[in-house]
């Protein structure tokens, strides 16, 4: 479908790489549909001829169109920005749409992200997990005033602080950090790096009135910041290179200190000046 390179083109780099011979790829996919449990989980192999610039998005669509129309997987933007296509690529959680086959060996193993409800084959229900996490951590601005007058000038913000918030706001909820997390694999109620990063993001934001006491109530236990075993798989696999290691360590320290100090004043944001 879509933008796959013509199969018969022998080379093609829009740039100018030397003529390459086409590899025959073997793509092994872990397949299972929980709605048909009579067919047990299994690896199925598909052969695909590599093309110039081929991504796993292109390869999987080609397999579905020409070999097995029942193969399930998720892509949306196919540009690495929407976070739909997280899967285990040779065992490592990554975004399939921007993974070039040329960077992989001739045999590629694909499996669904662990830690999420399986829909079928490579498709997992990250949306359901992320919504539950958002509801639990209340991942929205808790504004200081009930209504703002949208005709008036916006509240000013230090440009550097806006940039810092943006850095954490870049999370695309792809689920790779959960799939790579030891704690998340052991306890279903762990909010993971994605959740803790969000707490870090709102904690930075002067528009949110919540204090460290509030955040402690949300994540101050083993399902939150104290559940992290510091294995840092999340940090290694994050497709957006978010500073997850620093975020979790910082948050843990702040919340631990907060727990042994007298409660902060409501609305106060320790450590940050708006």
């Amino acid at each position: 479908m879509t933008e796959a390179a013509p199969k018969d083109s022998t080379k093609s780099s829009p740039m100018s790489s030397p003529k390459a011979s086409h590899r025959q790829l073997t793509i092994n996919v872990l397949r299972y549909d929980p709605r048909t449990p009579e067919r047990p989980p299994r690896m199925e192999a598909f052969r695909v001829e590599e093309a110039e610039g081929m991504t796993l998005f292109i390869a999987l669509n080609e397999i579905r169109e020409t070999q097995d129309p029942s193969l399930n997987f998720d892509f949306v933007c196919r540009a690495g920005i929407c976070g739909s296509c997280g899967m285990l690529i040779n065992g490592r959680p990554s975004l399939a749409c921007r993974t070039l086959t040329k960077d992989l060996g001739a045999t590629i193993n694909l499996a669904p992200l662990p830690g999420f409800e399986l829909i079928s084959d490579l498709s997992v229900n990250t949306g359901k997990w992320m919504r539950a996490m958002s509801e639990r951590l209340q991942t929205w601005i808790h504004a200081r005033e009930r209504e703002i007058d949208i005709c008036r000038l916006e509240q000013r913000m230090d440009p550097a602080l806006a940039q810092k918030i943006y850095e954490l706001d870049r999370c695309i909820e792809c689920g790779c950090c959960i799939a790579a997390c030891g704690t998340a694999q052991m306890r279903k109620d762990f909010v993971g790096a994605v959740g803790l990063n969000k707490i870090g993001r709102f904690r930075l934001d002067p528009r949110d009135r919540r204090s460290d006491d509030d955040y402690y109530d949300l994540v101050g236990d083993d399902t939150g910041v104290f559940g992290c075993m510091a294995l840092l798989g999340c940090h290694d696999v994050c497709p957006k290179q978010l500073p997850l290691q620093t975020q979790i360590a910082f948050l843990r320290r702040r919340l631990a200190l907060n727990a042994i100090k007298p409660a902060s004043q409501p609305g106060e944001k320790p450590g940050e000046k708006p």
């Binding site: 080379k11 399930n72 998720d74 921007r98 000038l153 916006e154 940039q163 706001d169 870049r170």
Partner: protein, 664 residues
């Protein structure tokens, strides 16, 4: 058969649908969102470079206001837009940007003092005002006379989508993820919800609602080379069309973005050129000044796309085995700027092409990008043919874009239309007009009809392969209904699409599962997409002029005398193999800005007979009101404030930048 009920059924979980649902919910109406994917994965996330809103904080935005945004948008539309709706839009855009600021969008902010920047290929230093410190910053975009794009690096849509989606979670609005509306339920010119398919279990059920909202985005996947996400298949437009009642407006108006990454079509944001990036040909020559000496790389998208293809026609494309392309050069912006403000571009270049845009050129070619047309609505966002059916965002033809949309106006439209139309939806739900009066047996009939269609696909063992039909359709659209069009190509396109439509009645499936079966979804979507594709191609064939993004080699001029009108396509009978086209004239005598030259692009056009008379009227009114403030003059030319929901009225506050007068 299962029937669920709600007040407002929103089909589509992108920015427009989410914002409309929030508006309805805040007014006390229950809302449910149906979404193919988790809302935060919607294509809104792909809006990169920014949102147009005349906040006028940056020094290069000095003098910007609603009037300037209005004129830019109408000129950009090549006078196809509904000017009253444009006024509602430009008035509300700053309010929407400020609402988003309060909801947590980390807008890039103004830093007072000197900044080095690139303007028209030259390095210059601009000085941001002390008074603007910390307010929302603006960047430049194409087709605008001021810097107006509020932005969050180059992931503006992502940041907006996350903030608005999180607000919808805060408002406790349920989202039925991985569900698809496959038909609208209607009776006697009134829409009552939709037949919905659960994409995991395959179950069909009805969602009955007082108000139904199409917010499904565009139809980019009618084309092979598109910037659009794979979910942008025009299904909302299709199910509206299939009612035989609702009309689609201006479907032939398709935008091609100048800088689709070659060959995949992945979007490289206009922010690259807005921030000073240049287009170069095979010789490294910067060719846009040859075509557009004034606006250069920052003419409107339709104009730049055409000029690029002209340059390729002259033999100046970079030839590869996959076709030809041109270069986008952002190396002059410097690594620091790219890593801060064009970060996704850098990532895309690195992952997909293994190049570094701070030192390498980016291969680009125009790619389908935006569907200006959609479900035709009135200024309240309601379909005129089917009451109780509303449409917002790219899926709608509310009509602020006419025949060419300005960059940054679409993501602005999502939140502005969501805000405005959401209020009108709530008004409708408050009124007796919204009473649900449909018979349960009729709802069952609608479910049964869809069930029978799916049964036929699964059981009939047809001979046609859905994905092949779809591929062929994409080829036809890309090759024959593209940037440059002519009667011969369009006639061939229409005929071939008709053949494909007939074939799509004989699709057979290899996988007969009813549940999570991608082949089944491809099959019924292909049947619908072909109807939408026919609306595009037939509309383009009928429109014997060039306007905005619709460029006919055989009719190269804009023809206001005959074509200053909006195409309305309907599909009255299921057995039809062509849409029925009607036209809705635009009233020059009511326009605040009568048709003229856009300030870029072709200078020749056939004037409308009323244009001269309206210009005289406007001159007389303006003369009479000499000395009055701009609001009084505007109100005398084309009053619009009464059209806005009461809670969204009010003048937008701005700072006074150096060199500006004290009055607003």
């Amino acid at each position: 058969m299962r029937i669920d009920y709600t007040d407002v059924l929103v089909i589509g979980g992108g920015l427009a649908g989410l914002r409309a649902a929030i508006a309805a919910k805040r007014r006390g109406h229950d809302a449910v969102i149906l979404s193919l994917v988790p809302p935060k994965r919607s294509h809104s996330a792909a809006a990169a470079g920014g949102m147009q809103a005349s906040l006028a904080n940056s020094i290069k935005a000095s003098g910007d206001n609603e009037d300037v945004h209005f004129a830019d948008t109408v000129r950009g539309s090549d006078w196809g837009a509904d000017q009253e709706v444009v006024r509602m839009f430009v008035d509300s855009a700053p309010k929407a940007a400020r609402e988003l600021a309060a909801w947590g969008v980390p807008w890039t902010r103004v830093q007072e003092g000197n900044h080095e920047t690139v303007i028209k290929g030259q390095k210059v230093v601009i000085t941001e005002s002390k008074d603007a410190q910390g307010l929302i910053a603006q960047r430049n975009f194409g087709g605008t006379s001021k810097w107006r794009c509020a932005y969050v690096s180059d992931s503006t849509g992502h940041a907006m989508l996350y903030a608005v989606s999180d607000q919808s979670i805060a408002a406790n609005i349920p989202v039925r993820e991985r569900t698809e509306a496959i038909a609208l339920i209607h009776d006697g010119g009134r829409c009552f919800g939709a037949v919905v398919r659960d994409l995991i279990s395959g179950e069909l059920f009805a969602y009955v609602a007082k108000a139904t909202v199409i917010a499904t985005g565009g139809a980019g996947r009618l084309y092979r080379v598109t910037t659009n996400a794979v979910i942008n298949e025009g299904m909302g437009a299709a199910i509206a069309l299939e009612t035989g009642r609702a009309a689609l407006g201006n479907m032939e108006a398709i935008q091609f973005h100048p800088t689709g990454l070659f060959p995949s079509g992945i979007l490289i944001t206009e922010g690259c050129r807005g921030d000073g990036g240049l287009l170069r040909d095979v010789d490294g020559h910067r060719f846009m000044p040859d075509y557009e000496p004034d606006k250069m790389e920052l003419a409107s998208r339709d104009v730049v796309s055409r000029d690029m293809l002209e340059q390729v026609k002259k033999g100046k494309g970079v030839k590869t085995r996959l076709g030809e392309h041109l270069w986008l050069d952002i190396t002059l912006l410097g690594r620091a700027h790219i890593e801060k403000n064009l970060r996704d571009v850098q990532e895309i270049c690195r992952y997909f092409l293994d190049i570094d845009p701070a030192k390498d050129l980016i291969p680009v070619m125009p790619a389908q990008h935006y569907t200006m047309g959609g479900v035709r609505t009135d200024y309240r966002g309601e379909s005129q043919g089917l009451k109780g059916l509303f449409a917002v965002g790219e899926a709608a033809c509310w009509d602020i874009h006419g025949f060419n949309r300005l960059g940054g106006n679409s993501v602005a439209e999502t939140v502005v239309a969501g805000m405005i139309v959401g209020e009108f939806i709530a008004d409708f739900c408050d009124s007796a007009d919204s009473d649900i009066s449909i018979a349960t047996s009729l709802i069952h009939d609608f479910i049964a009809r869809e069930l029978a269609r799916i049964d036929r696909l699964i059981n009939d063992g047809g001979s046609e392969d859905a994905s092949r039909l779809q591929q062929r359709m994409k080829e036809i659209m890309t090759e024959k209904v593209g940037v440059f069009r002519d009667g011969t190509m369009l006639t061939a396109a229409v005929e071939e699409l008709q053949v494909l439509l007939v074939k799509s009645g004989k699709i057979g499936l290899r996988n007969r599962s009813r549940g999570a079966n991608p082949e089944l979804a491809t099959a019924y979507r292909t049947q619908k997409m072909l109807k939408v594709a026919l609306c595009v191609a037939a509309g383009a064939l009928a429109r014997t002029e060039s306007r905005g993004a619709h460029a006919r080699d055989d009719f190269p001029h804009r023809d206001d005398a005959n074509w200053l009108k909006r195409t309305l396509a309907t599909w009255p009978n299921e057995a039809d193999d062509l849409p029925t086209l009607k036209y809705e004239p635009l009233d020059v005598m009511g326009m605040e800005l009568p048709p003229g030259w856009r300030g870029y692009g072709a200078k020749d056009f056939v004037p409308h007979p009323d244009t001269a008379r309206r210009n005289e009227e406007i001159e007389a009114i303006t003369k009479k009101l000499a000395g009055a403030d701009r609001f009084a003059v505007q109100a005398a030319l084309m009053p619009y404030e009464q059209l806005l929901p009461a809670r969204l009225r009010g003048r937008n506050e701005r700072i006074v930048l150096p060199g500006e007068g004290a009055s607003p």
